[in-house]
Structure formats: structure tokens, C-alpha cells
Amino acid sequence: MSTQIQIPPNRTAPLFSKKQRKLLSDPIGDNNPITIQVLGICSALAITTQMRTSLVMALSVVFVLACSNVAISLLRKGIPERIRMIVQLMVVAGLVVLVDQVLKAFAYDISRQLSVYIGLIITNCIVMGRLEAFALSNRPWDALLDGIGNGVGYGAILMVVAFFREVFGAGTLFGYQVVPQAFYDAGYRNNGIMLTPAAAMFVIGIIIWIHRARKPKLVDIS
């Protein structure tokens, strides 16, 4: 008979167990909401013309995802099964309106640039998807990590796409000119198609291609 003392798992579990680290890292890489699950494409096409708007959008989504995940996880045992999606929607909508109002008060210019797309976070499939798939059946701390992970995974793709679109479409990064004037004098022109949503589709497509080419095990997932 073993004399090993059973340790209550909750007491000594490290802040980030291996499983919890995976919750954070998986959505950034192998289970990315945009490139693997192909969710949240709408806003990724729309607002990635500039790095600055993309960053604010990414931070807003991280905030909404993390908070709504925690809120739903806390409420998960009390939510009536029949109205659970409406409850989720209400929590998400409340948080999104809050973000929108705060941006209008403290970052007026950027909120004007993002216009409708902050409000459309409500309909971002990633948010509802994580609530249904994860927060409803997991503890708040795990749900928080999952929310941050997915938000960052979404935001990372946004930033990559915005980088290429802003550099080639406008010659700037975060609004600062990076393509030297000498290039323009030599006949270089900004590529107008990079500013259209179609270009975001190409860029995301290329990211998905590279991602899957490097990790063949991802190919059959979706």
C-alpha cells in the first residue's frame, strides 16, 4: 500500500499548469481563431488597413473576450439552459457598449475611425464561440486564460495583416511614413488594392497557407 499523500489538486496546482499554458498558447498558434477556425473574418477584413486601428480593435476584443468568458464562467451554474445564449449575448453586448463608450470618451479620434466595427464585436463569432465551447463548462481562471489566448490570437493575425496592408497600401506604419520619399520619386506607387478588403483576404489566405505548410498536422482539422 502506498503511503503517498494525496495532495488536493486545487491547493498546489501552479498558477499556470501545462494545460493552462496551452489554453493561452494554443489559440495563438495551432488553434488560431482566424487562421484555423476561420472565425472573426469580417472585422479582420474591415479594419486592418491601419496598424493603429487594428491594435485598438485587438485590445477591445481581448477585453471583451476575457471579461465575458469570466462572467459566463462565474454564472455558468445558475444560467437557465433555455436562455443561455441570450444571457451570453447580453453580457457580451453590455461589455461591447461599455468599450464603445469608453473609447468615445478617451480615444475620440480612433473611435471615429473604427466606427461601427467596435459595435460589431457583439456579433464576432469568436466571442460567442468561446462562451459556448469553453466558458460554460470551465472554471473562471481557465476561462480568463482561454479568453485572453483567443483574443491575442485574433489580435496577432490582425496586426500581421494590418502591417502588410499599411506598408504596401499607404507606405506608413502606425501613421508614420516608412517608405522613403526617394522611392516615390523613383516611380514607386502605393498599392491601392491593399486598402480594399479583398487584399486582407489574400493576406489571410497566405498566412493560412504558410501556417499549414509548416505544420502538416493542421491540414485535416477543418
Binding site: R82, V87, M90, G94, A105, Y108, S115, G169
Partner: protein
């Protein structure tokens, strides 16, 4: 399965909690938002005629800009706050009751007239402040604004890249007949020697036709006001 009573009560309580916390947040942030909007308006007006320092905006604006209000016949109307006028509401009123604001900038003997305009873009309202030289025809500068035009396409109208194309264009022809500036289709048009046209933006055709229409409609309402201002000069 939860009972009906529980479900209804749950929904009611959640609605009340979310609703009231949002109401508190929104009313708490409102003064800041309104100030932002007013300052953004004043800044947009001043930016059409000078480089604005946001720190001194609060002092500069009242010192440099006079707000005047006219009726459609060109008579100045007193007792109306220029900023309180909603341009869209005014345009729906009977012609005799319409009131139009005009912002007059003057510094070191230089005068410029700033005309506010409103129109429709692709997704929502668009607006502009148009600064005219003292001859009331040559465009000194223009500042566009929009609410929800597509980022990267129609939303580019509020960028200097587009706004600067209006500089030096004219809204009256040689016979002093109103000839508002129109935006050409697509980009890359050569507009040298065309005082009443500017180059467009690819992919923003509908927003830009809204811009052209706004110039046509709004400036025709100011025609008489410009005429009477020219006479009094």
C-alpha cells in the same frame, strides 16, 4: 431543467443589472464625450485655416473665429447660436425659416469664411468645413468628416491626401455663377487647369459622389449669403 419562474426571474435580474450599470457608465462618460465632440468641431473649423495646437485651442478659437448666422436671403440673423443649428434639420424647414451658420476667421487682417456642410456618404452622414478666401470663391482648405465610411476607402476623405486636392479650386466661374467643385471618378486624373474638379479615390465612388452632391446642394443654399457678403465688402 430550471423552472419557468426561475428563468423569467433570472432574465429580469440580469437585464436590470446590465442595463443599470450601462446607464451609469454612459451618463458618467457623457460630459467628456460631448466635450470631445465640441472640441473636435472647433478644431475641424480652425484646421481648415491654420495649424491647430490642441493645447491652446480653447483660447484660440473664441479669439480668432466669429460665429454668424444668416437666412437663405442673405440677411444676418441675431440671437441664434451657430453651433446649436442642426444643418440637416434646417434643410428640411420651409425656406423662409432656414438658418445657416457661417464661421468667419480673421487674423492680422486676413479674412476667411468657413462654411459647414452636411451630406450623405455610403454608410452614413458625411460633413465638411469648407474654408474660402476673402473673394468667397477660392478654396483655402477643406476638412471632411464622416461617421461610418469604409476604413481605407471612403474613410480616406478626411485625410490630407484627399483634402489637399481642394486647395486653390474655385466654387464660382468667371461669370460669378456658382460652379461647385466635383470629384472625378477613380484616381490618377489630371486636374491641372480644371478649377472646378478634383481627383477621386479608387473604391470610394459612392462616398465621393456624396461629396460632390454635398458641395452642390449646400453651396447653392449659401449663394445669396455670399452675394450679400461680397456687396458689403
Amino acid at each position: 431543467m430550471h423552472s419557468n419562474k426561475y428563468t423569467v426571474a433570472y432574465a429580469a435580474v440580469l437585464t436590470a443589472v446590465v442595463g443599470s450599470s450601462l446607464a451609469i457608465a454612459v451618463s458618467g462618460l457623457k460630459p467628456r464625450q460631448e466635450r470631445n465632440a465640441l472640441m473636435a468641431n472647433r478644431r475641424a473649423i480652425l484646421e481648415t485655416v491654420m495649424d491647430v495646437n490642441p493645447q491652446t485651442l480653447e483660447v484660440d478659437y473664441p479669439a480668432l473665429v466669429t460665429e454668424r448666422v444668416f437666412d437663405l436671403a442673405g440677411q444676418e440673423v441675431s440671437g441664434v447660436e451657430a453651433f446649436s443649428l442642426n444643418l440637416k434639420d434646417e434643410s428640411h424647414k420651409p425656406r423662409a425659416e432656414q438658418r445657416l451658420p457661417l464661421f468667419v476667421f480673421s487674423r492680422d487682417g486676413v479674412k476667411r469664411y468657413i462654411v459647414p456642410m452636411q451630406g450623405a456618404g455610403l454608410w452614413g452622414p458625411i460633413g465638411a468645413y469648407l474654408a474660402l478666401e476673402a473673394d468667397l470663391s477660392t478654396i483655402y482648405g477643406v476638412a471632411f468628416s464622416h461617421e461610418k465610411e469604409t476604413p481605407g476607402l471612403g474613410a480616406e476623405i478626411d485625410r490630407p491626401l484627399f483634402e489637399d486636392r481642394y486647395k486653390g479650386k474655385k466654387i464660382y466661374d468667371e461669370d460669378a455663377k456658382l460652379e461647385p467643385v466635383v470629384v472625378l471618378r477613380g484616381s490618377g486624373n489630371n486636374t491641372a487647369g480644371m478649377p472646378h474638379a478634383v481627383d477621386g479615390l479608387t473604391g470610394a465612388t459612392i462616398t465621393l459622389s456624396g461629396v460632390s452632391q454635398m458641395f452642390r446642394e449646400e453651396l447653392s443654399r449659401y449663394d445669396r449669403i455670399f452675394a450679400s457678403l461680397r456687396q458689403s465688402q
